[in-house]
C-alpha cells in the first residue's frame, strides 16, 4: 500500500500545525493534543489514532522538525512502557472504543502506564503466572502479586495478564486486561535493588475489580496478546545507531585517558578487547537498524540485548579493578526512586551493580540464548513437561 500522503505533504502538515499552534505560546498539553489530533504523533498509527498510516521510517524526520521548532515532546523516556508496550497491544487487540479511550492520553503523557506481568514465581516462565482473575457479573475480580513493575507508583493504568482458567495447560488459561491502578485493592510497594535504589515495585492485588470492558482480546487468549507486548519490548531494547564509544565503554575509555594513574599495562589488552567488542556491538546494532528499516522486528534484537548485558558487565567490572582504592568506595546507598536508569553520574560501583540487572530484566540472558538457539538456529527445544498439564498440576 503506498503512503496516503507524500513526504512533501507531511512537511506541510507539520508546518501547518506549528503555525496554528505556536509552541512558544501554546501550553504543552494543548500542543500535544493538537499534534495527536493532526495525526502527527506516531505517524505509522492509523488516522484518527494519532497517525497517518505512514512508514515508521519517517518518524525521526518529523521529531527533528518538531524539536527544531522548539515544540515540547511527550517525555518518551517517562512513558516508555505506555508507548512501547501498551500502545501496540491496544492497537493490535483493542476495540475501537478502547483505542479511543486510552491511546490519546497515553501518547500525550497524561496517563502513565505500567506492566503487571512478572510474578515472584513466574519470571522467565511467564506463562506459569498465578495471579487469578475470576468472573463476577460484568467484572473480573483479581488477586495476586506482581513484581518488577517500573513506574507503578506513578501509573494510572496497567497492562495485566492474569489466570482465568487453572484447569487447562498454562498457556491456554490466561487473559489480558487493562487495570486501573487507582482502583481499590491495588497496593504498590517499592522494590529495592542491590544498588540501593528502587526503580521497580511490587504490586499486590487484593480483590481488585476490573470491568470486562477493560479486557484486551478474548478470554483465554492472554498469552497471544502478551506476545505482541513482549516482542515490542525486545525491539525497544535492541536497535539504534549510537556514536562510537557511547555508553559504558566511553566511561571506561575516558577514565583511562584522563586518569593516567589508573592505567595498568597488564589490563591494556583487556581494555582493548572490550573496546573492540563494544565497537562490534555498535556496528551490529547499526546493521540491525538498517535491516529493520525495511523489514520486521526479529530475534536479532535478542542478540543485541544479550551482547549489551554482557558488555556492560565486563566493562564495569574492569573499571572497578582499574580504579583500585577508588573502586572500594560507593557513592550512596540511600533508597532513591529514579525514573530512568543512567550509568553515568553515579560511582563505578553503581555501574558494576546496576549492570548485573541487564542480564535479568526484560528476558534473562539464558532465555535470550534459548530464543536464538531455537528460533534462529532451529535447534530442538527442551523437552517440555509442562505443555499438556493443567496449570494447577504443575510442579512449583
Amino acid at each position: 500500500m503506498p503512503p496516503l500522503i507524500t513526504q512533501h505533504d507531511l512537511e506541510n502538515r507539520i508546518q501547518d500545525l506549528l503555525a496554528a499552534h505556536d509552541p512558544g505560546t501554546t501550553s504543552r498539553l494543548d500542543f500535544l493534543h493538537a499534534r495527536f489530533d493532526a495525526g502527527l504523533a506516531w505517524l505509522h498509527y492509523p488516522p484518527g489514532l494519532g497517525g497517518l498510516g505512514l512508514p515508521r521510517g519517517l518518524q525521526p524526520a518529523a521529531e527533528k522538525a518538531f524539536a527544531a521548532a522548539g515544540a515540547p515532546d511527550n517525555e518518551p523516556q517517562r512513558i516508555g512502557i505506555g508507548l512501547g508496550m501498551a500502545a501496540p497491544t491496544i492497537l493490535g487487540f483493542g476495540s475501537d472504543e478502547q483505542k479511543q479511550r486510552w491511546l490519546r492520553p497515553l501518547w500525550c503523557g497524561e496517563q502513565v502506564w505500567c506492566q503487571l506481568f512478572s510474578e515472584p514465581g513466574a519470571g522467565s516462565d511467564l506463562a506459569a503466572l498465578a495471579t487469578r482473575a475470576v468472573r463476577d457479573g460484568e467484572d473480573w475480580v483479581v488477586n495476586g502479586q506482581k513484581v518488577w513493575t517500573s513506574m507503578a507508583h506513578e501509573a494510572r493504568w496497567a497492562i495485566l495478564v492474569a489466570r482465568t482458567d487453572p484447569d487447562v495447560p498454562k498457556h491456554q488459561g490466561l487473559t489480558y486486561f487493562v487495570l486501573d491502578m487507582s482502583a481499590p485493592g491495588v497496593e504498590v510497594r517499592p522494590l529495592r535493588q542491590l544498588t540501593g535504589e528502587a526503580e521497580f515495585n511490587e504490586v499486590f492485588l487484593t480483590d481488585v475489580r476490573v470491568p470486562d470492558s477493560q479486557r484486551l482480546g478474548a478470554v483465554g487468549e492472554g498469552w497471544k496478546v502478551a506476545q505482541t507486548t513482549l516482542m515490542n519490548e525486545r525491539v525497544a531494547i535492541g536497535g539504534g545507531a549510537a556514536p562510537r564509544e557511547s555508553g559504558m565503554i566511553g566511561v571506561l575509555a575516558s577514565a583511562w585517558r584522563e586518569q593516567p594513574e589508573v592505567r595498568d599495562p597488564a589490563l591494556h589488552d583487556r581494555l582493548l578487547t572490550l573496546w573492540v567488542a563494544a565497537e562490534a556491538a555498535r556496528l551490529t546494532a547499526m546493521r540491525l537498524s538498517a535491516q529493520l528499516a525495511a523489514g520486521q522486528p526479529g530475534p536479532e534484537g535478542s542478540a543485541a540485548k544479550y551482547a549489551f548485558a554482557s558488555l556492560n558487565q565486563q566493562i564495569s567490572s574492569l573499571e572497578l579493578e582499574l580504579l583500585g582504592e577508588q573502586g572500594l568506595r560507593y557513592d550512596d546507598w540511600t533508597m532513591r526512586r529514579p525514573e530512568t536508569v543512567s550509568f553515568v553520574g553515579r560511582s563505578p560501583g553503581y555501574r558494576y551493580l546496576r549492570a548485573k540487572g541487564n542480564s535479568i530484566e526484560g528476558g534473562t540472558s539464558e532465555i535470550l540464548l534459548n530464543i536464538i538457539a531455537e528460533r534462529v538456529l532451529g535447534l530442538p527445544g527442551e523437552i517440555r513437561v509442562d505443555k499438556d498439564v493443567a496449570w494447577k498440576d504443575l510442579p512449583r
Binding site: 516462565d125 529495592r192 597488564a266 573502586g327 546507598w333 560501583g349 548485573k356 540472558s365 517440555r384
Partner: protein
Amino acid sequence: MSEALLYSEPEEELRAAVADLLADRAAWASVLARTESAEPYDTELWKTLGGGIGVAGLLVPEELGGAGASLREAAVVAEELGKAVAPVPFLGSLTATALLLAARESGNGTAALADDLLRRIAAGEQTAAVAIPFSRSPDTTYRGRVSVTPWPPREDPHEARLTGRVTSVADALPADVLLVPADGSIYVVRAADAQRTPVTTLDMTQVLCDIEFDDAPGQILAIGYAPLAQALLSAAAVLASEQLGLAEQCLKTTVEYVKTRHQFGRAVGSYQGLKHRLAQLWVQIAQARAVARYAVSSSGDEQVIAVAVAQAHCSAVAVQAAEECVQMHGGIGFTWEHPAHLYLKRAKSASIALGSPARHRRRLAELVDLPAS
C-alpha cells in the same frame, strides 16, 4: 607437602566452633540490617570470636597469651567468615597482629612495645589496625602521605608526632591502636589521637575509614617497612581463604536454589546450561581450595609465589561465584532483601583489596622469571 593441602582435625574443630557461632549470631538478615545501622561492626560477635574462641590471639605466641597457631588456622576462620560475610574486624586485626609479630622478630624496633600490644590483643583488651589503604598489595613500595616530626619535649627518642592522611583503611574504626607506616618506619598511635571518618563502601560489611593525623603522638615500633610487607603477605594469604569460603557459600546457596526453583515445569537446575556453569564453578572452587591451602602452608620465597597465585586465582573465583549467584537467582538475586548482593559486593571489593589479580600476576612474573618484554 601434599598432606598440608588438606585440613587437619584441630583445624576442622576450630572451623566447627566458628561456624556454629556464626550460624547463631550472623544470619545474613542481621548482617544486612547492620549495614544500614549506626553500628556497622558486630562488636559482641567479635568479642565472642576474639575472646571466647580465641580468634584475636590466634597468631600470638603462647608466652604472650595467644594460641600460637599458624596462618593455616587463621585461614580456616577466614573461610567461615567469608561464608557469612560477617562484619567483624578479623582481617584488619590479623594484619596488625602479623605486623607486630614481624616487628618483634625483625629486631629493628621496640620488641617490648610489640610484646605489650600482642599481649593486649590476645587478651581481647585491645584491637589494632594497620593504617594503610586496603587496596595496597604486599609487593608495593609504600609511599604514604603521613610525615613524622621528632618530638622535642620528651627525651624518649622513640616518640614522634605524625601528621597526614591515610584513606580507605580497613577495620580501623573499632581499633584502639593504629600501626602507622610513615617516613620509612612504623609507629604506634592511639586511635583516639587520630580523626577517623567512615567511608561509604562498595562492600557494606567491610567498613573502611579515612584517617587524619594532626600532630598525633606516636611511638616507634619498627624501623623499615619489611614487617609491613610480611604482614600484608600474611593478610593476602588469609584473604584467599576468605574468598574461598565466600565462593563456596555462593555455590551452595545457588545449587540449593536451582534445585527448588521451577520454570517451565522443571527445576531450573536441570537445564544443562546452568549445570555446566555450576560444574565449572565447582572445578574453580576445588582449585581455589588447593591454592588457598598452599598459600598458608608454604613459607619463605615459596610463600611469596604461593600468595600471588592464590590471590590471582581466588579473587577471580569469588567474583565469578558471586556473579553466578546473582544471575542464577534471577530477579530475586537482584533485590536488596536477598543476601546475594552482600556476597557480590564483598567478592568484588576483596578482589581489589590487597592488590588486584592483575597486580598479583605482575608480581608473579618477576618471581618466576617471565618478564613482560
